[in-house]
C-alpha cells in the first residue's frame, strides 16, 4: 500500500544505500527544507483559492473562474502580480524592524510545522512536549505583529498592532485550557501519543460534552489567535484600512498573508490532532468490515480531510459574522471563554480520573 510513510522510507533507504549515513542525513535535511518551502508555497496557493471559493459561494457568486481550469490558477496569477510589485519602505519607518517583521512571521509559522503529524509516522519532530511547543512558539508571532505595526510609522498600523497584542495574548489562555482538556484525557503532551490514545475513537466522540465545549472554545480561540474575522481587529479593514500591515506592499505583504494562512493551517491541524485523532481513521466499535475500509484510506488523507474541515469552519466564521469590537473581544475572552474553560477543564479531569469516558 502506498502511503506517505512508505514513500519517505523508501527515499530514505535509497539515499542511505547510495550515500552512506552521514551524507544521507545531510541530504535529507536539505530535502526537508525544500519540502517545507514547497509545502508552504502550495499551502498558500491552495488556501487562498479555497478561501476565495468559499467566500464566493457563500456570497452567491462564482468566485475566480477565469485563470486556469475553474479559476485554480488565479492565486498563482496573484502571486506573480505580487512578486512584480515594488516593496516600499515608507519614509520614517524603522527600516531594520520593518524588514524583520515579515521574515519573523514566516519563520514562526514554519517552526509550528515541526510537531505536526501529517500521516502515520510522518512527523518532523515528535517532541515530547508537542502541544506546549506549539503554544509557546505561536505566541512569538504577536511580536512580529507588534514589530510590524510599530516600525511602520503609521497610525493605523500602530493601532492595529496594539489591538493584536491584547487580543492574541488573551486568547492564548483559552486555547491553552482547551488543549489541556485533551492532555488530561490522553495523559501526554506528545503529539504522537495523543493520536495513539485515540486509536479506539476520537476524543470528540469519547469525551462527552466537555470535549465538545473544549473544541468550540479552541476554535474560537485560534480564530482570534490567527487574527481572522470575526476577530481580525489587528487588520480591521473597515476601521484601520489594513491594520498592522497597512504599509507593507509587494512580497512582504504576501509573506504576512501567507503566514496568516499557514497559521490557520497549523491551528486547524492541531485541532484535528487533539479532537479528531489526527491521521487516525474513523473506527466504529465492532464493525470490522467498516473499520477495514476506513483503514484502507491513507492516513495522510485522513489528516488533511480533518484539517481542512477545521479550516473550512474557520472560513465559515469569517464569511458569516460581523467583527467584534476590541473591548467586546476581551470581554468574550475574560468573562466567558476563560471561566468556562477552567470549569470545563475540571469537569473533563473528573471524567478522566473517574474513567467515565468511553
Amino acid at each position: 500500500m502506498i502511503s506517505l510513510e512508505f514513500i519517505l522510507q523508501s527515499v530514505d533507504r535509497w539515499l542511505r544505500d547510495r550515500l552512506g549515513h552521514e551524507v544521507a542525513v545531510a541530504v535529507e535535511y536539505v530535502l526537508v527544507g525544500l519540502f517545507v518551502i514547497l509545502f508552504f508555497a502550495v499551502l498558500g496557493l491552495v488556501l487562498v483559492f479555497m478561501e476565495r471559493k468559499v467566500s464566493a459561494w457563500m456570497q452567491v457568486r462564482l468566485g475566480p473562474n477565469r485563470v486556469g481550469p475553474g479559476g485554480t490558477l488565479q492565486t498563482l496569477a496573484d502571486t506573480i502580480k505580487l512578486v512584480s510589485k515594488e516593496g516600499l519602505t515608507p519614509a520614517g519607518a524603522d527600516r531594520f524592524l520593518f524588514n524583520l517583521a515579515p521574515v519573523l512571521m514566516i519563520v514562526v509559522s514554519m517552526l509550528l510545522l515541526a510537531p505536526i503529524a501529517f500521516a502515520r509516522n510522518v512527523q518532523l519532530w515528535d517532541i515530547n512536549i508537542g502541544v506546549l511547543y506549539v503554544s509557546a512558539i505561536s505566541s512569538v508571532s504577536v511580536l512580529a505583529v507588534l514589530i510590524a505595526g510599530w516600525s511602520s510609522n503609521n497610525k493605523y498600523s500602530l493601532l492595529g498592532a496594539m489591538r493584536s497584542g491584547a487580543q492574541i495574548v488573551s486568547y492564548e489562555l483559552s486555547a491553552g485550557l482547551s488543549v489541556l482538556t485533551i492532555v488530561v484525557l490522553s495523559g501526554s503532551l506528545q503529539v504522537s501519543q495523543i493520536i495513539e490514545a485515540q486509536q479506539t475513537g476520537w476524543w470528540l466522540f469519547r469525551g462527552h460534552v466537555p470535549v465538545l465545549v473544549a473544541m468550540i472554545i479552541y476554535l474560537i480561540a485560534v480564530t482570534a489567535e490567527t487574527n481572522r474575522a470575526p476577530f481580525d481587529l489587528a487588520e480591521a479593514e473597515s476601521e484601520l484600512t489594513a491594520g498592522f500591515h497597512t504599509e507593507y506592499s509587494g512580497m512582504r505583504f504576501a509573506l504576512f498573508f501567507l503566514a496568516e494562512y499557514a497559521n490557520v493551517f497549523v491551528a486547524s491541524a492541531i485541532g484535528a490532532i487533539l479532537f479528531l485523532g489526527g491521521w487516525m481513521p474513523l473506527h466504529l466499535g465492532n464493525w470490522d468490515a467498516f473499520n477495514r475500509i476506513m483503514d484502507w484510506i491513507p492516513s495522510s488523507i485522513w489528516f488533511f480531510a480533518k484539517t481542512f474541515f477545521f479550516i473550512f469552519v474557520i472560513m465559515w466564521f469569517r464569511w458569516t459574522f460581523p467583527r467584534l469590537r476590541i473591548d467586546q473581544l476581551l470581554e468574550l475572552e475574560w468573562k466567558y471563554l476563560l471561566p468556562l474553560g477552567i470549569v470545563n477543564l475540571l469537569v473533563a479531569t473528573t471524567i478522566a480520573v473517574a474513567g467515565w469516558y468511553f
Binding site: 456570497q59 452567491v60 493601532l159 473597515s238 476601521e239 484600512t241 460581523p322 467583527r323 467584534l324 469590537r325
Partner: protein, 371 residues
C-alpha cells in the same frame, strides 16, 4: 470640552479617516482625535466632490435642472427628481394626472427599498461582515432591472419630468414587481438571520451612537436617523405629497436612538415600502402619464419650497425665481448634510470601531452632503 481634554492629556492621537478609507463610503474626510482608542472629537472636512450643483442649476432650465439632482443622492436619485418636479409643478400649478402620481410613488418606494438594501449591505460591511453586502446586491439588482425596463437607466433614471413621468410603465412592470415582492419578503427574513438577530451585530450597534430625540430635532437629523431617535419626522406623513395620504402605511419609529434603532427603522421601512407597493401595484389608474406642459417653462416670480422623504430623510428644494427660464437661486436641503453634523455629537467617547458603525447607521452618501 475638547479643548479642556487636550490641555489635560498630551498623548492624544490625531488620525485622518478618509478621504481614501474603506468605510467612509466615498471621499469624506474625518479628522478624529483619539485618546487610546477612545474618540474625543470628530471633525468632518467636506468638499472633495463638491460640484456646486446649486450654482450649476442657476444656468439650467427648469426641465434640465431635474436631471442634475440625480447626481446628488445617487441612491435615491428618483426621489430627488421627484422633489424638484414637485417644486416646479407647485409653482406652475400643474395638475399631475393620477396615473403619473401612482407611478411616481411606486418608483419612489422601489428606490427606497433599493437604497435601504444597499445600505444594509454597506452597514454589514462596516461592522465587518462582508457576505451580506453581496446578498444585498442580489435584491438591488432586481430593482435595478425593473427600473431599467421602465425608465431606461439603472441608477440615474431621470424618469421625472415636470407634469408627470417621461414614459408610461413597461408592460412587464406589474409582473416583475410582484415577482420581486414575493422574492424580497423571503429574503428579508434571511436578512434577519444574518444580521438583525446576530449577537455580535447587536453588541456592535446597541447603545452605540445614541442620539436623543431633542438632539435629533436640534440637529435636524431626519429620515431613519430621526425616527430611530423617536422623532416621527416622515414627510410622507407630516406633509403628504402625491397620493401618500390615501395609502395605508406606518411610520416606523424606534425610541432607543442608537445604531441598532436606526437599523431597525430601515428594516421596518423596507417592509412598509413593500406594503405600499402591494397596495398600488394592482390599482394603477389608467389615464395620462404626463400632464400637458409648455415647451419652455417659466416660473412666476416668487419662492417655492417642496419637501420629499428620500431614503435618507427630508429632501428640500428651495427655488427662488425671478420670472425667467432659469432659477435665480436654488437651495437643496440634503438630509445627509444635517445627519452628518450630528456625527461628532454621537461618536464622542466611543471607539474607532463604533465610529465606523455610527457612520454606517447614518447611511451617508457623500455627493448628497457635498452637492
Amino acid at each position: 470640552m475638547f479643548k479642556e481634554v487636550l490641555a489635560e492629556d498630551q498623548d492624544c492621537l490625531t488620525l485622518n479617516v478618509g478621504p481614501q478609507h474603506p468605510s467612509t463610503h466615498g471621499v469624506l474626510h474625518l479628522v478624529i482625535t483619539l485618546k487610546g482608542e477612545t474618540i474625543l472629537r470628530v471633525d468632518p472636512h467636506l468638499g472633495y466632490i463638491h460640484r456646486s450643483i446649486e450654482k450649476m442649476c442657476e444656468s439650467l432650465s427648469y426641465r434640465q435642472f431635474i436631471y442634475v439632482t440625480s447626481r446628488m443622492d445617487y441612491l435615491s436619485a428618483h426621489i430627488n427628481n421627484h422633489g424638484c418636479a414637485l417644486c416646479v409643478e407647485k409653482a406652475l400649478q400643474i395638475e399631475v394626472p393620477q396615473r403619473a402620481q401612482v407611478i411616481r410613488v411606486l418608483m419612489d418606494e422601489l428606490t427606497r427599498i433599493a437604497s435601504h438594501v444597499l445600505w444594509w449591505g454597506a452597514m454589514a460591511m462596516d461592522v465587518g461582515a462582508i457576505t451580506p453586502f453581496f446578498h444585498a446586491f442580489r435584491e438591488r439588482e432586481m430593482i435595478n432591472e425593473i427600473m431599467e425596463e421602465t425608465c431606461g437607466a439603472r441608477l440615474t433614471m431621470n424618469y421625472m419630468v415636470p407634469g408627470g413621468v417621461m414614459y408610461d410603465l413597461h408592460p412587464n412592470f406589474q409582473r416583475r414587481v410582484k415577482q420581486f415582492i414575493s422574492f424580497f419578503k423571503s429574503k428579508l427574513n434571511e436578512y434577519d438571520e444574518l444580521l438583525t438577530d446576530n449577537i455580535i451585530f447587536k453588541q456592535r450597534t446597541q447603545h452605540i451612537g445614541v442620539l436623543r430625540r431633542e438632539d435629533a430635532i436640534s440637529f435636524g437629523a431626519t429620515g431613519p436617523v430621526g425616527r430611530g431617535s423617536g422623532w416621527a419626522c416622515d414627510v410622507r406623513k407630516r406633509a403628504p405629497y402625491e397620493c401618500y395620504h390615501q395609502l395605508q402605511f406606518e411610520q416606523v419609529v424606534e425610541q432607543a436612538g442608537d445604531c441598532y434603532a436606526r437599523y431597525l427603522v430601515r428594516m421596518g421601512e423596507m417592509r412598509q415600502s413593500l406594503s405600499i407597493i402591494e397596495q398600488l401595484i394592482d390599482n394603477i389608474p389608467s389615464g395620462d402619464y404626463q400632464a400637458k406642459t409648455k415647451a419652455v417653462l417659466k416660473l412666476p416670480k416668487g419662492e417655492y419650497y417642496s419637501r420629499v422623504e428620500t431614503a435618507r430623510g427630508e429632501f428640500g428644494v428651495y427655488i427662488v425665481s425671478d420670472g425667467g427660464t432659469t432659477p435665480y437661486r436654488i437651495k437643496f436641503r440634503s438630509p445627509g448634510f444635517s445627519n452628518l453634523s450630528a456625527l461628532d455629537h454621537m461618536s464622542r467617547g466611543h471607539k474607532i470601531g463604533d465610529l465606523v458603525a455610527i457612520m454606517g447607521s447614518l447611511d451617508l452618501v457623500i455627493p448628497d452632503i457635498d452637492r
